[in-house]
């Protein structure tokens, strides 16, 4: 049986998808086209003639040491924050799946951080981890100057990783929990009868059976940490100290809107876009064709 809804009038169908199409056009295709245009031209910020320069902007970007610094920082950031996010999410999801005390409450509470806007997360973390006044400042009382994200690049990097993961754990948590709950309970029970303890079952059964969810989340988390981390960096570190947290997405903003170098910013955002598109491609190509057991 054909279970798709069909519309008698094509106009109605167009009318219904139009709002979405218009949004996608205004907020994605148009800016993308604009970026491409800027990336291939040189333009004076205060008006004047626009000049077509081909790939020259890209050459400038790729020969810039600071750009490669931001690529390195971004990749490190994506790897550490994705690892932290997924490990924590899996841990929490398996706690909830095992119905440890209070799991009903956690199931709801864990999802809230995802609903909080990145700048708000940034603000909260900035206060909590402030070296002189935050909760963490007590560490500095015991070990002076151990923690200072305003001066120490590593501290700052750790701080944005924690903030980003804290926000992203919720998303992975929900998927891991759904994945764990989709594994028939009797399979883990059979393993318990076979003598496997909790960790052994996690390792031998639950993780392999979660593999499709795992790859999906891996790609999503890496993508998100490339594009969605702007708010956190902007509020907490502003890319500093000494560019230690100068992520690609933040550098685009600071070059474009602070440095007023639109062409460089546009070229960088095209590079980032290609990166994200290829991640998405990997996602569709390999993850959607996931292995189905049983």
């Amino acid at each position: 049986m054909d279970r798709r809804a069909t519309f008698k009038s094509t106009w109605l169908a167009f009318a219904l998808i139009a709002p979405q199409l218009i949004l996608v056009f205004i907020f994605f295709y148009w800016p993308a086209a604009q970026s491409l245009f800027w990336a291939l031209t040189l333009e004076a910020p205060f008006g004047g003639a626009t000049q077509f320069v081909g790939l020259q902007n890209f050459e400038t970007v790729f020969s810039d040491k600071l750009y490669w610094n931001s690529v390195r920082v971004s990749i490190l950031f994506a790897l550490s924050s994705t690892t932290l996010t997924m490990v924590m999410a899996l841990l929490l999801a398996s706690f909830v799946d095992r119905q440890l005390a209070g799991y009903r409450v956690y199931r709801f509470v864990y999802f809230w951080p995802y609903a909080i806007a990145a700048p708000a997360v940034g603000l909260a973390f900035r206060f909590i981890f402030a070296p002189d006044a935050g909760f963490v400042s007590s560490i500095n009382k015991v070990f002076p100057n151990l923690w200072n994200p305003a001066l120490d690049g590593l501290d700052a990097f750790i701080l944005i990783v924690i903030a980003n993961s804290w926000k992203m754990i919720a998303y992975s948590f929900i998927f891991f929990l759904a994945g764990l709950q989709a594994i028939p309970r009797t399979i883990t029970e059979a393993a318990a009868m076979d003598g496997a303890g909790v960790l052994r079952r996690l390792w031998d059964l639950q993780l392999p059976l979660l593999a499709p969810t795992f790859f999906f989340l891996l790609v999503i988390n890496i993508t998100e940490s490339f594009v969605d981390s702007f708010g956190i960096v902007d509020i907490i570190t502003g890319g500093g100290p000494a560019r230690a947290t100068d992520l690609m997405v933040f550098k685009i903003y600071s070059d474009g809107f602070k440095g007023l170098d639109y062409s460089m910013a546009a070229a960088q955002s095209i590079v980032l876009m290609v990166l994200v598109v290829s991640l998405t491609f990997v996602q569709f190509r390999y993850v959607e064709k996931r292995v189905h057991y049983a």
Binding site: P184, A190, A192, M193, D194, A196, D204, P208
Partner: protein, 366 residues
């Protein structure tokens, strides 16, 4: 030695009690079938023995040792699940050998035992397949093999045959029984299929609504149901039941029908009772004192069941397939006194027959 002693075991989920004080002693090497309608708590009881469900009250002891606080793996039980619960990403060999792998048995030894077990359940040629590449019956065998390889003290089965087709079910039933004879391990088998229960069990435990109704050998349960529930639940077609009053000893009245009950069927005159008689024990003859109009006839091969109503209740007669019967026809029959069962309608308890002088045993229904 692995006898199982269940004493006053209860189970509740939150405030809902689902098992209300069960006592059951299972002897070493015995094959016990727990039989009851859906939702009566059979699986729950089995899972408490396995250690998959916490015991809310009472104790369960295996081989003389209380296991309430023990992990499933410390109880020496193996379980076969209704949906088989095979590990989908493992091959047949890995599925069967998983318990040994967890126990740290060396690979060569493990493979040797896997092959041995696979041979005994007829799966040698399938060792490299994944469960999804097997038929239902083959999966069932993998589940059995996985349970066997641990050489457990106790086998637990939770409706392991209910997903198989009728023919395979009969075959697997036989294999389970043979396996039991070979290994001699104490076995507890849960089912709601009474034919399965009758053919497999040394003793049957009939459960209803979280309580045990009767424990006995298959013939005890069939010949002498202790409660109205057991009488109605065991055997197919079900026992015919009639609501009667007993104004005079020896006579039961159902509406204006008078059934002469044997003198030794006790009952205070005037009391109400339920009289039961199995369709296969009714005697159809031209001289019968009762009559029933056939409403429809169900042919089952060698016998046929004639459905109608008698004394205001649905009633079934069983007669040989050779006898010509058509719907609408009137049949005459008798109710042999020896085949009658009587129950107290208020408590559901069996009303025992009074021993007439000179007879020691209750006559077994013909």
């Amino acid at each position: 030695m692995a006898d199982i002693a269940i004493s006053n075991v209860t189970k509740s989920y939150g405030k809902t009690a689902v098992i209300h004080g069960v006592d059951l002693a299972i002897r070493d090497g015995e094959f016990v079938v727990i039989l009851g309608p859906s939702g009566c708590g059979k699986s729950t009881l089995l899972r408490m023995i396995a250690g998959l469900e916490e015991i809310s009250g009472g104790t369960i002891a295996i081989a003389g040792e209380a296991v309430n606080e023990k992990e499933p793996r410390e109880r020496g039980c193996a379980m076969v699940f209704q949906n088989y619960a095979l590990y989908p990403h493992f091959s047949v060999a890995e599925n069967i050998g998983y318990a040994l792998k967890v126990a740290g048995v060396a690979k060569a030894e493990r493979m040797r035992r896997v092959r041995e077990v696979a041979k005994s359940v007829g799966l040698e040629e399938y060792l490299d397949r994944k469960p999804s590449q097997l038929s239902g019956g083959q999966r069932q065998r993998v589940a059995m093999g996985r349970a066997m390889i641990r050489e457990p003290k106790v086998f637990l089965f939770d409706e392991p045959l209910s997903n198989l087709d009728a023919k395979l079910r009969v075959q697997m039933r036989l294999e389970i029984r043979k396996l039991h004879q070979r290994l001699g391990a104490t076995s507890v088998f849960v089912t709601h299929d009474q034919v399965e229960a009758m053919t497999l069990a040394d003793r049957i435990v009939v459960m209803n609504a979280g309580k045990i109704e009767q424990i006995g050998t298959p013939s005890e349960i069939y010949d002498r149901p202790e409660t109205l529930f057991v009488a109605g639940f065991i055997s197919s077609p079900p026992m015919n039941l009639l609501e009667v009053t007993i104004p005079v000893r020896g006579e039961a009245h159902a509406g204006d029908i008078v059934i002469s009950t044997p003198a030794f069927l006790a009952g205070k005159p005037g009391a109400a009772a339920m009289i039961g008689v199995r369709p296969e024990h009714l005697e159809i003859s031209a001289q019968g004192r009762f009559s029933l109009q056939a409403e429809f006839v169900e042919k089952l091969g060698s016998v046929q069941l004639v459905h109608g109503s008698f004394a205001g209740r649905d009633f079934i007669l069983q007669c040989p397939a050779t006898q010509p019967v058509a719907a609408g026809q009137r049949l005459l029959f008798d109710i042999p006194a020896a085949a009658m069962h009587a129950f107290d309608p208020a408590t559901g308890a069996r009303i025992p027959k009074v021993q007439p002088a000179g007879r020691q045993n209750e006559p077994v229904a013909a």
